[in-house]
Homo-oligomer: 208 residues x 2
DNA sequence: CCTACCGATCGGTAGG
DNA sequence: CCTACCGATCGGTAGG
């Protein structure tokens, strides 16, 4: 095995996983093709063999991060029973994912969305789409909890989705600048207290 | 007036104000000295006459943004009566500042903090210091509302500060990727409802 | 404050 | 997939 074969085995997916991690540190735009190639032990033109331009790579990186988000956060939450428990699980798995520290530079999406929210183009549009999809999921889970009679009929699902997401976004920022353990406890507590205040059946949720 | 004099009149403060705005679009690191010089109509070395390096400029830009934050958000809030009204005002003036759209690329601090939270150094440290200062202010305002008997004695001021700030951070991100007007209404509503639920005297706050 | 320049690095291409 | 190269731009410096 002379290294070429080994490098040849690096799949598109393995390159993209490395790129997601690097993007959390250097930024999705700060991510340079030379740096990424060097970290992977391939040449820059090896990357151009997969993606025609840096922008194409950025879009592929976003898609990879979406797969990761679904795998690590959405899917585990959906294994919980429909209703307020599933909404709570969506927040909890997210905080657990952050606390695990898999990505070296924090949340890929929070970083990239703040980075690109003033730069019109296809990258920003893709990020906005991912964000809208996540919020729509939270809103759907809230609506299902209302339908199940576990949250009051007058609850606004979109407002609740905003509040749950707010605790998640703040958890990333807060944890990376100040004390992480305190932060994650506060981010969990904020949503748990809110849901326990609202729910018609507090026994469905852990103690605050 | 031959232009040189006019350019010469550009004070340090005027350069820094332009830099704060440019940094919200390009990032505090993406901010290039050439671009800033070009926008101001001076040469690059004109900037080096004020700051010895890009990092020095970045620190000065952060300090300028802190002055702006105090002037536009903290000071107006402190003109409200001590207690739950002042805590509410701190959130409201912040959202109003965002809604006004003075900075072309959103919130300087949210952008810069996400950009630098994985890049150790003096810039990150200065941003973390500004963040801690803001949270300490919110916590102090919450503690004062408790002392004044306007919030229940058992309230955790740091937890409440986390929640108020979370709504603010989420307001920036959300407003720049989706509908701004909806977002600001939700960000106001989230905190107002929380404070009205907690307070011993709801007449101190606007209707939810 | 200016012009003119430095080496390093960027995204991207040519040719194999 | 590789090496070798392109023009553009970066932060920073020299000399005035």
């Amino acid at each position: 095995m002379d290294g070429r074969l080994l490098r040849g085995e690096r799949s598109r997916g393995a390159i993209l996983d490395a790129a997601v991690g690097l993007a959390t540190e250097a930024g999705l735009d700060g991510l340079s093709l030379s740096q990424l190639a060097q970290r992977l032990g391939v040449s820059k033109s090896g990357l151009f063999a997969h993606w025609a331009s840096k922008e194409d790579l950025q879009l592929a990186v976003i898609d990879q991060a979406r797969l990761q988000w679904v795998d690590r956060i959405v899917s585990p939450a959906l294994r919980q029973p429909r209703g307020v428990r599933r909404l709570w699980a969506a927040h909890e798995t997210r905080i657990a994912f952050y606390a695990e520290g898999l990505l070296p530079g924090g949340c890929f999406f929070a970083n990239a969305q703040f980075e690109f929210d003033a730069r019109p183009g296809v990258v920003r549009d893709r990020l906005a789409e991912a964000f809208a999809e996540w919020l729509a999921l939270l809103e759907r889970l809230a609506a299902e909890a209302i339908e199940a009679g576990e949250l009051p009929a007058g609850t606004d699902p979109a407002q609740l989705a905003f509040e749950v997401n707010a605790a998640g976004v703040a958890a990333v920022l807060h944890s990376r600048l100040l004390d992480p353990a305190d932060t994650f406890a506060r981010a969990r507590h904020a949503v748990l207290r809110r849901l326990r205040d609202l729910t018609t059946d507090p026994t469905l949720l852990p103690e605050a």
